[in-house]
Symmetry: C2
Subunit: 251 residues, 2 copies
DNA sequence: CGCAAGCGCGTATGTCATACGCACAGATCT
DNA sequence: AGATCTGTGCGTATGACATACGCGCTTGCG
């Protein structure tokens, strides 16, 4: 069996990520395997945050000894890389048929859902994505530009701009929705805290926007979730307006 | 001496951050103080990254014992909060005279410089800002809207949108400019890695944009710094185009 | 049937944040 | 001046954590 040598010289993480997983081995039938480990790790991080994910606790959950994990994962950083690649799952199918704006909107909302389900992804100061899981999302997003006149060179920057916004906005949303004071939660009601600390003489512009009801819900009937979602879509439209201007220049 | 009771009931961090620092005390003249500690901590984080900042190493640099630090800082999280508040320094003076677009542009570029100088700020999964240092920047940014018709309620979301973009873009820029393979650095040349891993059959849209030279410098004469800066300003203009549309609706 | 590859895991090491309490300095009070 | 009390610097100890190393076992292959 000649192995695919396309991935020579790459860091071990990338090799494991991009290679076909299955091959028959010696040794005992695996009680443990990479999928089980990564899945359990994601469950812990989802439930209790990234800080609660230790190799010891992970082993505990899997009913094995701590050091057994290291047969399948070189170190914790590698584990995190695997988690990042697996957690987002399959991206939505985007085609150019519905128009670029609808495609990017659906893509953004789907990605926001991923981040809300796995907020720990946002804590990982991940640089640019190199794993198949995340690149599949990039691929899906790029397909929205299919029918447009936007030059290919300018497409990824636009998608990255969206990505930055989605990550930033969702990070704050996730912190806001978490129980106050808890891990990653805000210290009580953010608007109330600001209203106490911000004095009009020192921060006039800030005081003005607070006074105008920036953190006051438009109606008590609107849940924080809905409010944050509406706020997200509004900012998204702002960005897409800018993209529309760019497209106007291009075509 | 009656202390200002405006800050009762707030978390200790906020109280220390917002109170006047000076008051005469008992005990020996302080060899150590909060400013010295935070300044040294920022220096370590600037030079070697957040991971290299341990209480032991910080004490070492200050020529004191590890536990001495805890007389001035409740714990490491509090230290990080102080660092976040002090590191950005004074924001630029923005007034509405030059127009909102120029004001926001200058603000964004100045903030980008802060993040390039202190990349560790981006690693701190900080939620919304509550310290005077960061709020001073928010205040400065909001002043750019002074002469516009944008309703006060809609100003902070726009500023947050800019903030997300600045943070995201600069985080990748900082990682790109770091020595490859080092702490926080990319695994070699990102474009080259992607070109090897991305097969057109599996990632056609991604392959197309790579083929179109997304990661190829327009000219060898352009340094990576300049290229990233130009890319930053381009994305910024995109966002501000969207804000202009919004302003068109408002006024 | 032997053998070695691959596996699970016990033990040990080094790093880290931090609780606790001692001893001392010096300002305040008598 | 002397007693007192508050705040400081710090030595020691603890417990969490990632992880190096090496032992014994299992099992598919020759």
């Amino acid at each position: 069996m000649v192995s695919d040598d396309t991935h020579d010289g790459l860091p071990r993480v990338l090799r494991v990520l991009w290679e076909e997983p299955a091959r028959p081995r010696r040794g005992p039938a695996n009680a443990l395997n990479l999928d089980r480990i990564v899945t359990a790790a994601i469950e812990i991080a989802d439930a209790d945050g990234l800080a609660a994910l230790s190799m010891a606790r992970l082993a505990d959950r899997l009913g094995c000894a701590t050091m057994s994990l290291y047969r399948h994962v070189a170190n914790k950083d590698e584990l995190l890389a695997f988690m990042m690649s697996m957690a987002p799952g399959r991206p939505p199918e985007i085609d150019a048929a519905g128009g670029w704006r609808d495609g990017l909107t659906r893509w953004s909302i789907a990605l926001r859902k991923v981040y809300l389900r796995h907020p720990w992804i946002l804590e990982i100061t991940g640089v640019a994505p190199v794993d198949p899981g995340q690149l599949a999302w990039v691929e899906a997003g790029l397909r929205a530009f299919g029918g447009t006149a936007l030059p290919p060179r300018e497409r990824l920057p636009v998608l990255m701009l969206l990505l930055h916004y989605i990550r930033g906005h969702t990070q704050i949303a996730a912190a806001t929705l978490r129980p106050a004071g808890g891990p990653g939660g805000l210290p009580g009601d953010y608007g109330a805290i600001l209203a106490r600390l911000v004095r009009p003489d020192r921060f006039p512009a800030l005081a003005e926007v607070l006074q105008a009801g920036t953190f006051t819900a438009p109606s008590p009937a609107v849940s924080p979730q809905e409010e944050l979602r509406a706020d997200f879509v509004q900012g998204l439209d702002r960005i897409l307006d800018g993209v529309a201007v760019q497209l106007g220049h291009a075509g």
